[in-house]
Amino acid sequence: MDTAIVIENLSKKYKNNRGIGDINLKVGRGEIFGLLGPNGSGKTTAMKIMVGLMKADAGDVIISGFSVLTAYEQAMKNVGCMIEKIVPFPYLTAYENMRLRSRFYNSLDDKQIDKTLDITGLLKYRNEKIKNYSLGMKQRLGIAMAFLSNPNILILDEPFNGLDVEGMFQMRKLITNLSKDKDTTFFISSHLIHDIELICDKVGILYDGRLLAVKDTKDILRDYSSLENYYLSEVDVNGAS
């Protein structure tokens, strides 16, 4: 399988000594990779470094063969992302916020914006200012912005946060369909084990800034009764070391 994302010896330490240390990982093209871990385990830090929001102390991230450190524009050309909660410009409408992203891609027109807003259920609120949006609607807009350019790779940090049951179901369906039909690669972080179990092909466990294990979901479910049991077992065995 072709490799979409390579993480090499990635380390970042904050002043409080938390952060991530020496993470190595490969994600194949078309794969849905889930990064599981408790709050504060370093998931967001790793993802921020992956998309260039943060600089690593050491290591590199290679996306589609390009380093985010030395060839950021090529690396991010076909990447869509949503890191932590999305904060759209409150004084702009949903359409104007989408335009902020679409301008970077020559091929994107208003039709594509409307299509993406329609998929995320925001088309009827297209011309409403974001300051009037609910938390869930902002989350949907963040997802729409990430999906807008039809990227080959999507990096989504806690994409299910703030979504209602229907929204979570639609989101899961969208992710699995895109992976199956368009070979889109997903790198998803979540602390919601159930959602990760339902959609991810491969799961990595990040605990206290260390990547404890990476395993195929089908192998996990063959050896354990659920992903939750596997997670607890890994944390119990390797988490303290």
Partner: protein, 247 residues
């Protein structure tokens, strides 16, 4: 280049959708109209000739360059940098395919466009007002040269604010520090006249070099080079800090 253009258009769109720059531009209009009324009343009824045909626009410039223009610049740059860092909206821009260098340059170019736009906007209103007061057309070339020259020191100040906004932790601190630095540099040039030529704030009135009957081109070139030097150093410093800023 395409990415820089896209980022620049985005910055312009964001600023134009904010209320503060529009309010400040409206304040400029109010000031010019108020000054015009005052000068007209003095010229017509008291017999005191306050300004000549070109002088009204220059008088407006000489007042606004130390008040509304720096304030306009502070609002734009603080919103553009510290404001977006503080409310995290900058993430939308920074996760685009444009590099941080291009994002920084697009912001600086957008700020420069708005500063120049505001200067020319005031110039046009004041020139029209001047024609109304004096009932003849002012020396437009001289006014245009003055307002264009006034752009340079304000642009350097914009770069200083950008730098402060990247370092500072919030919009209020960035705003207060910017005002403090503006006042401090102006105060320093008054207290220590020998360091005056090194401070960009003392060149806020360098447009006066084209107003006299003799134009000292070598002095204009010297000041221009000092301001360009400031611009290059501050752009490089701003770029470096913007690149390294963790979100």
């Amino acid at each position: 280049m395409e990415l820089l253009k896209a980022a620049y258009k985005n910055e312009i769109m964001k600023i134009l959708n904010r209320k503060k720059p529009v309010i400040l531009m409206a304040l400029s209009v109010v000031f010019v109209l108020g000054a015009m009324s005052g000068v007209y009343l003095l010229n017509s009824f008291s017999g005191i000739r306050v300004t000549g045909s070109s002088e009204f626009s220059i008088m407006v410039l000489s007042i606004l360059i130390y008040s509304l223009f720096p304030l306009f610049t502070i609002f734009i740059c603080v919103d553009m940098f510290a404001g977006e860092f503080a409310d995290q909206t900058i993430k939308i821009t920074l996760t685009s395919p444009a590099s941080r260098l291009k994002v920084f340059l697009s912001k600086i170019l957008a700020a420069a466009t708005l500063i120049l736009g505001n200067l020319y906007f005031v110039m046009i209103i004041s020139a029209i007002s001047s024609a109304i007061i004096n009932r003849n057309f002012p020396n437009l070339l001289r006014i245009f040269a003055s307002y264009t020259m006034a752009f340079m020191p304000i642009f350097v100040f914009a770069l200083v604010i950008a730098l402060i906004s990247i370092i500072s932790k919030g919009t209020t601190s960035a705003f207060m520090i910017s005002i403090f630095i503006f006042l401090l540099l102006n105060g320093l040039s008054l207290v220590f006249p020998n360091i005056r030529s090194f401070l960009f704030t003392s060149n806020f009135d360098w447009y006066r070099l084209v107003l006299g009957s003799y134009i000292n081109f070598s002095k204009i070139l010297r000041v221009l080079l000092i301001l360009l030097g400031y611009s290059i150093m501050l752009t490089a410093g701003g770029c470096y800090l913007f690149e390294r800023k963790d979100i």
